[in-house]
């Protein structure tokens, strides 16, 4: 938006000018992500409170030490590390998609959005495996919302709620990314003249990666 009228430029209060210099949708996405950040903060900080007040707490390296196709092999945190790299990579491909959108490169946007969707889907698959392994357990009875073989009941409850809430974000992100991918291929944004929608879902997707950075540190590493 460029209000170039010389008579109106004297004041910012005459309208026709976006004070934050972004589209309405992008601004609302930022505000939504801020509120979503509060929700995740609430989860993670509540986890901190319970952990600080607990007598003992499971060591994540000993709980999450399994790999698919490698039964019985002790591989602490390796699988979740791979998941982290997958999510970071899908964030990188999303930046590429946004960049292609700035250049009005339809094929580029479609290509990079495609890779982003694949990255998200692979991450979800990994999480499904991780959950299954966690629920079934390693001979001690596994885990549920009310009980688990690893330690305090709230450990598993927080695991399900925090990674579950994050996983729901990934799932919705993949679905929304797919819709944008579909619209890109159909030429909707090319007709519209801009790829602002790709930027908006890009913000959402990066936020999911951002949350995972915190979940990874505070649930798996510390």
């Amino acid at each position: 938006m460029s209000a170039t009228s010389t008579t109106l430029a004297a004041s910012d209060w005459t309208g026709g000018k976006s004070p934050f210099n972004v589209s309405y949708g992008k601004l609302m996405m930022w505000l939504f992500l801020l509120s979503d950040a509060f929700t995740f903060s609430g989860f993670l900080i509540a986890y901190g409170l319970v952990r600080f007040s607990a007598d003992s707490w499971p060591v994540p390296e000993e709980v999450f030490n399994a790999m698919p196709f490698m039964h019985g092999v002790n591989a602490p945190l390796i699988f979740v590390g791979i998941m982290t790299f997958i999510l970071i990579l899908s964030s990188v491909t999303m930046v590429m998609a946004v960049d292609a959108g700035h250049r009005m490169d339809k094929k580029g946007v479609a290509k990079w959005m495609g890779w982003t969707i694949i990255g998200g889907a692979v991450f979800l698959g990994c999480q499904a495996w991780e959950w299954t392994h966690f629920i079934i357990g390693t001979g001690g009875g596994g885990a549920s919302l009310t009980w688990n073989e690893y330690g305090p009941a709230s450990f598993a409850a927080f695991f399900f709620f925090i990674t579950g809430f994050h996983g729901t974000h990934v799932l919705s992100g993949v679905v929304i990314n797919y819709l944008v991918y579909y619209n890109t291929i159909r030429g909707v944004y090319e007709k519209r003249g801009h790829y602002d929608m790709v930027e908006k879902v890009g913000l959402y997707w990066h936020f999911i990666d951002l949350v995972w950075v915190f979940v990874f540190t505070f649930f798996y590493l510390v």
């Binding site: 210099n21 601004l27 700035h102 339809k106 990066h206």
Partner: protein, 107 residues
């Protein structure tokens, strides 16, 4: 498709931009790898936790500033997003102190 491409001008790839994206990605990868190394070499304690927290904040900065391009936005938008995080810090301090107090009462 070919008719549409005649009307839309596709700008060429800016190599410097792509290079910058790859650079940030490599930084994120290196930090994550380093976190792994720390996870298995240092014993649990204040130092280890501090290192993890600092590295997480560095990663968060790169994602928000470079990938989400908040660094390129106007000042007002930057502060709209950053300033409310103060509430999170307050909640963090308050609830962790509360947690320690509960521990002291219980055990």
């Amino acid at each position: 498709m070919t008719t549409e491409e005649n009307t839309v001008v596709v700008q060429p790839v800016d190599k410097a931009k792509i290079k910058h994206i790859v650079k940030v990605a490599i930084i994120l990868g290196i930090i994550t790898s380093f976190e792994f190394a720390i996870a298995f070499t240092l014993s649990a304690g204040g130092v280890k936790t501090s290192i993890f927290v600092i590295m997480t904040l560095v990663k968060a900065f790169y994602i928000i500033w470079e990938f989400m391009h908040l660094g390129d936005e106007v000042k007002g938008l930057k502060w709209t997003v950053i300033a409310p995080v103060l509430f999170v810090i307050w909640l963090l301090v308050a609830l962790l102190m509360e947690g320690s107090a509960i521990y002291a009462v219980k055990f």
